[in-house]
Amino acid sequence: MSILRAALWATLATLAVAMVGCQGGSESSGTSGTGGRTVAKDGKRFKVGVSIPAADHGWTAGVKWWADQATKLHPDIDWIIEDAKEPGEQISDLENLQSQRVDALVILATESEPITPIAEKLKEAGILIISVDRGFTKPVADVFIEGDNKAFGRKSAQYIVEKLGGQGKIVVLEGIPSTVNTDRVNAAMEVFKANPGIQIVAKDTGMWNREKAEKVMQNILVSHPQIDAIWASDDDMALGVENALRAAGRDKNIWILGGAGMKDIVKRVMDGDPLYPADITYPPSMIAVGVQMAASILESGREKALQFMPRHLMIDVELITPENAKDYYFPDSVY
């Protein structure tokens, strides 16, 4: 036992020395200053926190990747990226970031309501708040950037109606219960209701998750011999649906409309795969827009920049077809 004990203590001691000694993220390095325009008035480097949900599905993994990409463009700013599994953890993350005296925060809320009070407090403490995708329930953010989820639902549903010529049997798969999902589904359902030739044979939730969508689709396939198209509303779910179709030998004369613009699906659209005639964007890169705006506002002087910065930016969603797919294909992205 004593050997193990000695080994453990040695490991701990090494770790301690390594952690205390290492250079990255040291507080003193912040005061060294780089002399450029990215340095705040008191000579310290700007410090910005990025708080995002944990990568529990492909899209959020894309958010992390794009946050990494965008922050790398601004090496003079001290970036801190934190992810959270649930709102409680995100509140803690935000408090910790405040303790580290960040100048700005780019927040993609795990959920809107719980993060609103803490965001209010951070704003009161003088921190610049950029909110992305899931907004707050009060106008707290200095800048709010979101995708147009109603357009996502409307445009995707219209595509299905047109491609089916107004007649057909479809399956609707929903995502994780949230305002994002509700907006999409409601807008899509409005379009479907206006076209009585479109018959929704099944509606269930795949939680924006490949495995879950596959299981749900398997069950649906058993009881519905005739299905023309699937409104999968997310590319992870689309891939799960595809697995179910192939396993059941039902992958002919049927097609899937996913969503968000995962690179694998965009590639399939580009290559003219009959299963994927189209896709619809909802770019996780919108976090990069937030990062870019935070950097730009701090670098150009907050007061002046905020005079003309829009308070609310709505990013349109676009239909990806074989013709334009190459514009939406990012082979290096994780998503």
């Binding site: 004990r5 709102p87 609103t116 009070p117 509700t182």
Partner: protein, 317 residues
């Protein structure tokens, strides 16, 4: 484990004197895991008695839903907070009692019963919340979540007094009362006896079934208390996401604190330090800029090292 905590604390203090040692941050260290902490105290009793409860995370969601719905119903009355607190405690205690009753009288393994609870309680919460979040319509309920005792003489970066939240005070109070209950009362001795050797306890005249039922009921009530504070803090309850993995955090805190998963021995103060250690690790990962994708690995390693250290620094018995 106390050594590990002190070591990590000193490391943080030396490395980040400016932000880590700030009054605001030290308050955060106490308060951030107060909900898990309150639950972990109850979990200590259950584990000492030889049981386990995997349903607490889902029960947080269920009790939270009950709390916020009650708040919205009782919005007009002057006693919103008291009524909601009573509802949360009652919901938690009833669920805990049900767990305990099936375990003790139905003779089903606690792992299985509470695994069913993990699935079931979350599901009922989702039904109550129609799959999404339930928002409170009472502003004062949300304010209560950020309210507490101002600590005299300490101010934060913005120059305002540092507040010790009510939830943190509740955690410390629950820990004190839990320590008293475990070490100074007959019930506490029974819990230890049942966990150490159930047969011997039964032969010496203890009704072991009821001892078990009450540990789960106590834990359930504490889950209700945690859910009450948690939903006040968020002024809402996200029925799909709140309390996720709380059971793992609570069990981890108890085990780091030196309570044996086999039952029969354990300590409340150890659990408190375990909770603080988990929070400290979270803060350090943040301060050290560990990539979020790596944080789980580091956290797991620190937990293992903490437990191994404490195992090896004590003589074998």
């Amino acid at each position: 484990m106390l050594v590990a905590f002190v070591l990590l604390f000193l490391m943080a203090a030396i490395r980040f004197p400016d932000s880590f040692l700030h009054a605001d941050n030290l308050r955060n260290l106490l308060s951030q895991n107060a909900y898990v902490g309150i639950i972990a105290i109850g979990m200590t009793f259950v584990i000492i008695s030889g049981g386990i409860d995997l349903s607490v995370g889902s029960l947080v969601a269920l009790c939270g839903a009950v709390t916020v719905l009650t708040v919205n119903k009782a919005a007009e009355s002057g006693m919103v907070l008291m009524v909601a607190l009573a509802a949360a405690l009652a919901a938690g205690a009833v669920a805990g009692f049900a767990n305990g009753a099936v375990i003790a009288f139905g003779r089903v393994a606690p792992f299985v019963v509470t695994l069913a609870g993990l699935a079931g309680f979350r599901s009922i919460a989702l039904v109550l919340g129609q799959g999404g979040e339930i928002r409170s319509t009472v502003r004062s309920f949300g304010d209560f979540g950020y309210d507490g005792l101002p600590i005299p003489g300490l101010t934060n970066i913005g120059g305002k007094p540092v507040i010790l939240y009510w939830s943190t005070l509740a955690f410390l109070l629950v820990a004190l009362l839990g320590g008293f209950l475990l070490n100074k009362t007959r019930y506490g001795r029974y819990v230890i006896a049942v966990g150490a050797n159930e047969k011997a306890a039964r032969y010496s005249g203890i009704d072991t079934r009821w001892v078990k039922v009450w540990t789960y009921t106590l834990l359930g009530g504490l889950v209700g208390l945690a859910a009450f504070f948690n939903s006040a803090r968020m002024n809402s309850v996200g029925t799909g996401s709140v309390g996720l993995y709380y059971e793992l955090d609570a069990i981890a805190a108890v085990v780091i604190g030196g309570t044996s998963l086999a039952g029969g021995k354990g300590r409340i103060w150890g659990t408190v330090v375990g909770v603080l250690l988990l929070t400290l690790i979270g803060m350090l990962l943040n301060l050290w800029r560990v990539d979020p994708n790596w944080q789980g690995a580091v956290r797991g390693a620190v937990i293992l090292i903490a437990v191994l250290l404490q195992r090896t620094t004590k003589p074998e018995n």
